[in-house]
Symmetry: C2
Subunit: 329 residues, 2 copies
């Protein structure tokens, strides 16, 4: 329609090398306008071997922990001129595997995985193999808060954060603790349990198995655990630590409906310090993680040149003491 060859049209529209006569550029652009032309992204990728999109895999969209990470990832990626595809695993490792395969087949530039809980089963090794193949093809895998795999990662300092929290609480005079932990002993959340234990160990306090309660990583999980806790355990507990804020809030609601006052009867602490929850009463003691920054760092890793060894970035958690954990006496 512009009276030039396909090649010239391509050059005009794309500008790979701008050695096209101004006049022709104009004619091509106008023709494109008129035809409502949009390049076929698939064909472009096929030809160029493109890698212009970053894949982000998270467990849950509605969980603010993940959505803040996503915010950081998207913002930074946009800034770098890349697009982001967000996908959700619902915490199923098989789905994670499927997604990795998908993104490998889409030739994503990098795959960022937050909150994987792949453990060490058969699926875990399939995932690992898939990611290794992906990297062999030139992609980059970045884990957020997951270690033990030979990929670049952003560490959240879960262990040191929980340790610091325990120490702060000891400093406030608490002596008897219970923990609401994740459903099993895998993944990053368990590091928080370990760190908390380490902190308590400094004061020669140990957690008995009966003081570790397990539930799903959600408001519902925390609610269920706190509903089913035996009254005697509650009475013997001065402070309840939930490994994330959502669970802490679920527990708070359950305690309240059981007539247990927080913090008068039991103090409560969470983890993540997620922004939309800052209006709870009492204000929740928590450990802040700069989640947006985590997302941004993950993008940086994903876009950086691959070094000889796997790169690790890390981020500093900070304890936020609030009304839910007043000083004892």
């Amino acid at each position: 329609m512009a009276g030039v060859s396909q090649a010239t049209a391509s050059r005009a529209l794309n500008g790979s090398d701008r050695k096209v006569k101004q006049e022709n550029v104009a004619r091509v652009l106008e023709a494109a306008q008129q035809l409502n032309y949009v390049p076929n992204a698939s064909a472009q990728s096929t030809r160029r071997g493109d890698r212009s999109t970053i894949a982000l895999i998270i467990s849950e969209v509605t969980d603010p922990y993940f959505s803040w990470i996503a915010e950081g990832v998207i913002e930074r990626a946009e800034f770098e001129g890349m697009h982001v595809t967000v996908s959700v695993t619902k915490r199923e490792a098989s789905r994670e595997l499927e997604l990795i395969r998908l993104f490998r087949s889409q030739r994503s530039r990098a795959i960022i995985i937050a909150g994987s809980r792949r453990g060490s089963g058969e699926v875990a090794s399939e995932i690992r193999a898939e990611l290794e193949a992906y990297e062999a093809d030139g992609g980059r895998a970045v884990d957020i808060s997951e270690s033990g795999m030979p990929f670049d990662a952003v560490e959240l300092g879960n262990r040191s954060g929980a340790r610091a929290l325990a120490q702060s609480l000891l400093g406030l005079g608490y002596l008897r603790f219970a923990v609401i932990a994740g459903p099993d002993e895998r993944g990053a959340a368990e590091d928080r349990v370990i760190g908390f234990r380490e902190g308590l160990a400094g004061a020669d306090i140990e957690l008995a198995p009966s003081q570790i309660l397990r539930g799903a990583f959600s408001w519902e999980g925390g609610h269920t655990v706190a509903s089913e806790m035996s009254t005697s355990v509650i009475e013997q507990t001065e402070l309840l630590f939930a490994v994330n804020d959502m669970m802490a809030l679920g527990a708070l609601a359950a305690l309240r409906s059981r007539g247990v006052a927080v913090p008068a009867d039991v103090a409560l602490a969470g983890y993540d310090d997620v922004a939309p929850l800052r209006d709870t009463v009492p204000a929740l003691t928590s450990v802040r993680i700069p989640l947006k920054q985590v997302g941004a760092q993950a993008v940086e890793l994903g876009l950086s040149e691959r070094g000889a060894r796997t790169a690790i970035r890390s981020v500093e958690p900070s304890v936020q003491l609030r009304a839910s954990t007043p000083a004892r006496r």
Copy 2:
């Protein structure tokens, strides 16, 4: 590697027509396994003219309103065997336009847009033109909570919901109101103001311009507005209605730090009834929208055969009265 032609390999891996000898299928599959083969999605799309992904455009990932819609969209799409790409506009119309163009070029099956506030400027008509071109190419555009454009849409009943809220509050004995509205008179949020006014009109109550306060659609927005409200306006107000929950919570925090008690001094109502906020004290009166269902319906529309006319689905909001708006006297 399997000792067959490319064509046979393709047929074996893809199964478009299963006229391949079992033995060969096995050999191809094993070879693929060994080579860590993954089909090149771009090349596949180029050839097949695929449309197997749904694009979702939202304003903000960290806003639970949008993340719950996203949850619904992703879940339903997954169920239908499609993948979802989530992108964020940050409420900038120009970015929305850019994204639509991107998804058009990617041959997405459908583009679902939530919370567009394109208004009626020049960008708005460009967006419209782009979407029309996209539909002409065989795509499907679906708006969530945005009318006035000739595309399929899911209506949230903002006007009727806000009207019902006003009526309920009148029923509780409130007579003097103020509204925290969005930054301008565009978009779906303004329907809530209109509906609220309609409800009040039934009791011959009008809102003066000084009783409509405008701010950003966020916690910060609500906080700012409530911080800057003059004391005299607060004293003359029995009930403050914020057009979404996030703003209501921001206002709550601001009022609290000004020493204004909720609901003793001023009652407060929000809109959306977003789940993670259900633990606030006092519990917030709000209007519930089944957001996941909204997302699911949008997917259904996007995947349905295009009828002669644009299709509209709608959803029923329901008023949730809670402690933040006790009965007067």
